[in-house]
């Protein structure tokens, strides 16, 4: 353990003349979890941001090495807990790809609908938290009201509100709830009638716009070089929607637009997410009435064994591209599993976009990166 004087000596060595080194987090209202940023300031201006990770590191990759291909899916819900359903889907897709399991259409449709609902729920939470970072507390509650409807749908069908674990290799764990379609439609009506509230309260607000426009600008080249994906990269004009480029499940059958902005600032990232919610609604509307009848789970062997080799699948989570990379030795458990988490790459860009701006801008930049810390630490 350090003693008091050592700590003081340490921090004074860190900062040069005229610099102030402050620790933001791991307990800080704006870091949304246990992110620890060591911020070097010159007055109000940020000179350098250094993330210190690992406060919620559970070594999921090592854990998965001792879990079977049926078991490891539930752990991934705990990575990016806001898009846990999509994480599960990515892992299930990998197993299905490796073992060439046929998935019934009904399962595919439901998986996509639930993925899009998860995406909306995640963006709703982000919207509220982002507004809260900028000091507007009220949109948080309005956003949560709509999100609550989604979690209720999830609870009815999957049996859990956040960590669903509804997907098994080959399909779904059980069939959808009888009220599923009715409730989803009710949600769509509610969402459409309330979405203009965010425009009045947040999007068009002059203070919000001045806080986010031109703040944390990320160019397209840097976005690619830093490996940014999802809304962060799309706000810079990088087309990177996995649903469009490498369609999985039934994304090639539905019509939707990849939302692209060109400004690359915090406001563009905000707009991408807001527009993406509308696109998700569009996808759900196309699918919800056409869920085919049939089995919800395909035929699988009792014990799943991936053939020897390397497998990689990717899905578009609410935060970007989640890659699942499995090295199999032919056994029932993976030899090595690597999750290419979107948050990790998105975090690495933070120093680049926030250095040189004010402390208040850091909240806007960090908020629009939409960091989920367990996703970064894994």
């Amino acid at each position: 353990m350090y003693n008091q004087t050592e700590i003081i000596k340490d921090t004074s060595e860190l900062g040069a003349e005229g610099e102030l080194v402050i620790n933001m987090g791991p307990q800080h209202p704006a870091t949304h979890g246990v992110l620890h940023l060591v911020v070097t300031l010159n007055g109000e201006t940020i000179k350098k941001i250094e993330p210190h990770l690992g406060y919620i590191h559970r070594s999921i990759e090592k854990m998965c090495e001792s879990l079977t291909y049926r078991q490891f899916i539930y752990v991934t819900s705990r990575m990016d807990y806001l898009s846990s359903h999509i994480n599960n889907l990515g892992c299930a897709l990998l197993v299905e790809k490796g073992m060439a399991i046929e998935v019934p259409d009904r399962a595919k449709y439901v998986r996509v609908i639930l993925s899009e609902l998860t995406r909306i729920a995640s963006h709703e939470l982000w919207l509220g938290a982002m507004a809260m970072d900028l000091g507007a507390f009220t949109p948080f509650f309005y956003a949560f009201r709509e999100r609550e409807m989604i979690t209720d749908i999830m609870e009815d069908t999957c049996g859990a509100r956040l960590t669903m674990n509804y997907i098994v290799p080959g399909g779904l764990m059980y069939d959808i709830h009888p009220d599923f379609q009715k409730k989803v439609k009710a949600f769509i009506t509610q969402f459409k009638s309330k979405v203009n509230e965010y425009e009045d309260l947040v999007t068009n607000n002059v203070i919000f716009q001045s806080r986010t426009k031109g703040v944390g600008i990320l160019s397209a080249e840097d976005a690619i070089s830093y490996g940014c994906t999802g809304p962060v990269a799309r706000a810079s004009g990088v087309s990177c929607d996995i649903r469009k480029i490498y369609p999985y499940e039934v994304y090639d059958k539905v019509e939707f637009d990849e939302v692209l902005e060109t400004a690359g600032d915090s406001f563009a990232r905000y707009m991408v997410r807001v527009k993406e919610m509308n696109q998700s609604i569009r996808i759900i509307e196309q699918l919800i009435d056409n869920i085919p009848e049939g089995d919800f789970v395909g035929k699988t062997k009792n014990v799943l064994k991936l053939p020897k080799g390397e497998f990689y699948t990717r899905v578009e989570t609410a935060r970007g591209e989640l890659g699942v990379f499995v090295v199999s030795e032919g056994g029932t458990t993976p030899h090595r599993i690597k999750f290419r988490s979107p948050g990790f790459s998105n975090l690495s860009v933070l120093n680049h976009i926030a250095a040189g701006s004010k402390i208040g801008d850091l909240m806007a930049s960090m908020g629009t990166l939409d960091l989920v810390i367990p996703d970064i630490d894994r």
Binding site: I224, G227, Y312
Partner: protein
């Protein structure tokens, strides 16, 4: 671009490269010493591989294998570059001046597998605490307190 063309191109920049086409993508195995120039050529040359979407390491008990998944936002062709490292003395040159994302990913590999990246600007532990001993994602890592064998 077909796999043949890519193979030809890579052979021209790294003659000792060996190829493996059994997987989804073309796998290229390079010697650690050749890796850096070959990567730089892939980024800037004909292929324009500007997107490093996955960088990791695999412990095969006999050796470590660095795996780089490369793609390009223009033509969307992915290739996998691999390089085998000695377990006892795992040293490879960094690629973080080619792709900035590699900076964090290499720090993670450094602490989890003990791979030393030469010329890395800031090679410190990222996730684990400073005084952590051992490399957790290696297969021979034992932690008597926190690891529970079921």
């Amino acid at each position: 671009m077909t796999n043949e063309e890519i193979k030809e191109y890579i052979s021209s920049i790294a003659p000792a490269a060996t190829f493996d086409e059994t997987g989804e993508w073309l796998n290229v195995l390079l010697e650690p010493a050749q890796l850096k120039p070959a990567m730089a050529a892939l980024r800037t040359g004909m292929m324009q591989m500007n997107y490093l979407f996955c960088l990791t390491c695999i412990d095969f008990k006999t050796h470590l294998t660095m795996v780089y998944h490369l793609s390009a936002t223009t033509h969307r062709q992915s290739i996998v570059i691999k390089s085998n490292l000695n377990r006892e003395q795992a040293v490879i040159e960094t690629v973080c001046d080619i792709w900035r994302t590699a900076e964090f990913l290499e720090r993670e590999v450094f602490e989890m597998f003990g791979v030393d990246f030469t010329n890395h600007p800031d090679l410190r532990k990222l996730i684990l605490e400073e005084d952590f001993k051992g490399y957790p994602l290696r297969k021979d890592f034992e932690d008597p307190i926190n690891m529970i064998k079921l």
